[in-house]
């Protein structure tokens, strides 16, 4: 009897949950589907969900007409570049804070967090002028540096919360066993630190990929990543739904996959370890 009720309950919740999940996901699904339609079919009324003639022409045209891969390449360079640069700077800092904490460590961490709360418009004017004077406007290197700086606090924080979980006794034990410093690093520390570093890398690539304040304000044609490329569809090309959809699908697909892979770390990274 009890089992019958819980099975019925499970069926009801399955239906509700799948319906809600589908509705939330629907705009993305609709974009992907529309990208395979012809322009005429994309604005047809009534719209068809699946039964239309599938075509790849939009993808071909997006690439041919606007050189999609140049923007994609910029996004890759900027998001990976800024994240890797950030990791190089942050790993030693997080390491030091996790393993040799001093009375000021907490204050430094809190101060880093507070820099993240500086609204971008507060520094838009000077950054824009500095970029203009130094010839950094619309360059990949300029944008990479800015994104590295805005994400650096998150990178330090995430790494810190991961490194904090590596037990310090293990280091002592390996030292007692007579491990040389080099062996200690290669065989003990690296394997334990890698998962945390990988999670940090993943989340920050996502954040940098989707950043849409600096990427829109500091680029024009040369260094524009996908955020700016899509923004160029705001008018009047935006009315070509199928092409807009194809461009959008290409822009979000890689990061959606990465995001799904890192959903656990997302919580930790974005709440600065406050919720795990």
């Amino acid at each position: 009897m009890a089992r019958a009720i819980s099975t019925r309950r499970k069926i009801v919740f399955t239906i509700i949950a799948w319906t809600v999940g589908f509705l939330i996901f629907f705009p993305i699904l609709w974009t992907v589907l529309t990208s395979f339609k012809t322009e005429a079919e994309a604005i047809a009324s009534p719209p068809s969900l699946l039964f239309f003639e599938w075509t790849l022409e939009n993808y071909v045209e997006v690439q041919q007409r606007s050189d999609y891969f140049r923007f994609f390449f910029n996004s890759v360079i900027i998001s990976f570049g800024s994240t890797i640069l950030g990791l190089i700077v942050a790993i030693p800092a997080a390491w030091a804070m996790a393993f040799s904490p001093t009375p000021q460590t907490k204050n430094i961490l809190m101060w880093m967090l507070s820099t993240k709360m500086l609204p971008a418009v507060g520094v838009l004017v000077p950054i824009y002028l500095i970029f203009r004077d130094w010839g950094l406007l619309d360059t990949r290197i300029g944008l990479t540096i800015v994104l590295m700086l805005i994400n650096l606090p998150i990178i330090v924080w995430m790494l810190f919360t991961y490194f904090k979980e590596i037990p310090g006794e293990i280091l002592e034990a390996s030292r007692m066993d007579g491990a040389a410093l080099r062996d200690e690093i290669i065989h003990v520390l690296v394997p334990m630190a890698v998962p945390g570093i990988a999670s940090t890398l993943l989340l920050n690539i996502i954040l940098a990929w989707n950043e849409a304040f600096w990427t829109l304000n500091l680029t024009a044609a040369n260094a524009a990543p996908l955020t700016a490329f899509i923004a160029s569809y705001s008018s009047p090309e935006g009315l070509f739904y199928a092409k807009l959809s194809a461009a959008s699908t290409l822009a979000i697909a890689p990061i959606l996959v990465l995001g799904w892979l890192s959903q656990r770390q997302l919580v930790r990274g974005l709440t600065f370890g406050a919720v795990k």
Partner: protein, 289 residues
């Protein structure tokens, strides 16, 4: 002696991060503060000290009050959607049902969509009064389609932003919900507590901290909403969808009014800092460094 050595090493290891962030924070902010006291427009030659005049202009400009109201509306509305929706979704995803993992992936997907994409997809393919999907649904039901971005522009943008941030709230609240001791829940159930009282007296208090964290973090990001406005309405019609961030952007990069934009930037910094103060306190309580 050894500790002294480690301490110095630790300092050297932290130095690059600290120095970079210090420079990144102080230099531009000092420049903004300095510019905000100047008459400085990139289009007209000559600059001069004007004291607080830029602040006076900025704070008495009717556009500022519109922007302040719009900012609050946008932040409040998106928070309402994402937090209330997030609590509901987290409770739903915590139930036993088939395909939990997949539904969870579907529900968190909007968070990974870049702002320009979600804004344009919603604007064109859903909210367009002629060929959008909402217009089709409305006409099939015999209703007049709404011109979303003309009639209710700010609410429309709030909906888009709410959709983007719903997964973030859901994911964090779900994480918090799953850390709730199941014995406690079962005990309450055995004592005859109904679903509502279980929610009010056990689940909600348990999630309170996570909810606070969600509200504060989202507020920081929502105060700086920019791309969604840029690609949908350009802040219009009039100033109907201009928030503080967008207002400063217009002054800086469209009107080239460095002085005025800097004053606006400082006002935005002060407002964000009020929020930040609360967040730093809450997060600070939870680390043992």
């Amino acid at each position: 002696m050894a500790t002294l050595n480690t301490r110095n090493t630790a300092r050297i290891m932290m130095a690059p991060s600290v120095i970079l962030l210090l420079v990144w924070m102080i230099v531009p902010l000092a420049m903004t503060l300095y510019f905000s006291t100047l008459r400085y427009n990139l289009l007209s030659p000559g600059t001069g000290f004007v004291g607080f005049m830029n602040y006076e202009f900025f704070l008495t400009d009717p556009a500022f009050f519109d922007a302040l109201f719009n900012t609050l509306y946008l932040v409040g509305g998106a928070l309402l959607i994402s937090v209330v929706g997030g609590i509901f979704l987290a409770l739903l995803l915590d139930q036993p049902f088939w395909g939990r993992g997949i539904v969870r992936l579907l529900a968190i997907a909007p968070f990974f969509v870049m702002p320009t994409v979600s804004a344009l997809v919603w604007k064109n393919m859903f909210m367009n009064p002629v060929s959008g999907l909402f217009a089709f649904i409305a006409t099939s039901l015999g209703l007049q389609p709404i011109e979303f971005l003309e009639e209710i522009p700010l609410t429309s943008i709030t909906l888009i932003v709410g959709w983007q941030w719903l997964p973030f709230a859901t994911l964090i609240l779900l994480t918090s919900l799953q850390s709730l001791d199941s014995e406690q829940r079962e005990a309450a159930e055995m004592d005859g507590a109904g679903p509502v009282s279980r929610f009010v007296y056990i689940i909600l208090p348990h999630m309170a901290r996570a909810i606070t964290v969600v509200i504060l973090i989202e507020t920081i990001f929502l105060l700086s909403i920019f791309a969604e406005i840029l690609v949908t309405t350009n802040g219009g019609p009039g100033t109907a969808t201009t928030n503080l961030t967008y207002l400063v952007y217009v002054q800086a990069l469209l009107q080239f009014d460095v002085g005025g934009a800097s004053a606006g930037g400082i006002v935005a910094v002060v407002l964000a800092n009020i929020v930040a103060l609360f967040l730093v306190r809450i997060v600070g309580k939870n680390i043992e460094a």
